[in-house]
């Protein structure tokens, strides 16, 4: 296995980060009413959390680059799927 040395400091940092971000969302719901800004903040938080979890727990920080070849297509395809579904769901040509 060619992963780097287990890095406990980063692990703790990442875990704490995810936990804090996760709980931060609670006051957010209480205070902000639904708006694009809130949606943006939430998406940003999700993104950060996922990055932290992926890098730390799933070792992507240490893993070989070739693994990205496995994961990246799914992100692209997921994006394509989401994008192509949008006109029919949200934009409504028929109306």
């Amino acid at each position: 296995m060619d992963e780097g040395k287990p890095d406990n400091q980063f692990t703790l940092f990442a875990t704490a980060g995810i936990l804090i971000l996760g709980t931060l969302m609670l006051p957010l719901t209480a205070t902000m009413s639904p708006s694009p800004a809130r949606l943006g903040i939430i998406s940003g938080v999700i993104f950060l959390q996922v990055i932290l979890a992926g890098a730390n727990f799933m070792h992507l920080r240490h893993e070989r680059r070739s693994l990205w070849a496995v994961i990246l297509p799914t992100f692209i395809l997921g994006g394509v799927l989401l994008f192509a579904l949008m006109p029919d769901t949200i934009l409504e040509w028929a109306k």
Binding site: P6, T15, T23, T29, I46, S66, V70, I71, T74
Partner: protein, 299 residues
Amino acid sequence: MTTQTSENLNLPNGKLAMWLFLATEVMFFTGLLATCMLLREAAPVPGPGLSPWPAHETVHVQPWLGAINTVLLICSSLCVLLSHRALLANQAGKARRWLGLTLLLGAAFLGVKGFEYAGKFQLGLLPGKIGESVNGLSPQREKLLQENGLSYVRDVQERLRALTATVKPEDLKTPPKEIQAAHALLQLTLDGKDEKNSYLRPLTPGQLGDQVNRLNGEFPSLHLPPAIPNGNLWASCYFVTTGIHAIHVFAGLVVLLVLFLFSLGRDSPRLAGRLEVAGLYWHFVDLVWLILYPIIYIL
């Protein structure tokens, strides 16, 4: 594990296969979550000024339960990681303890989930079973939904009757406020044939739904079946996304339990490899929850 030549990827088979499996899982959850999010965005606005998606209070979604579950899952992920590191450092006992803790945390997650589900079942917040008649529909649509709407009216009537029946006739002059309100609403739902004190034009299901929602807000103790616009769609999305995730958690727990039992027997480097692979899956389930939690509990 046979990695044969330099031409091949320098990844053990198990790990590569798990990553490939996770790629399929990414597609699976993308499809699932995209479906639910887009359906939510596309949900028709039930009336002027109304939100197309049920508010958390209406459908009894408690964000703090979700937050607890987030903490549980993150901690369990951390435990798997520490267990794996302990195995690599040849500390079998420590690894076993961390793994045991993971199992407990995962089980606790499912417990919280079960508690939530039990509440939904109790309140009848289930797909296909939520009253959904609202104002703002065209007469044509209203007609189309008449049967469904009427059954909703029957449900409300039943509940109102049960409420007013607890009050003895002699107390009717000074009943609690909410019972008075319930009695008044009951009268509004009846047409001329059933009872004496009634109106010839009973409320339409849509109007009744509005009244019920208002009354529920005023007197939460009444527990009238609320009319929830797009409630059935909400329930569908809620149960399918969280349910499928819970199944994944359960499957992960089974795998970890098997590994835990293994670790009781003997300690071997193969276990470390297996735990890493199983851990990858567990972390992925965790990661899905990180996306699911805001979608269900926050947005």
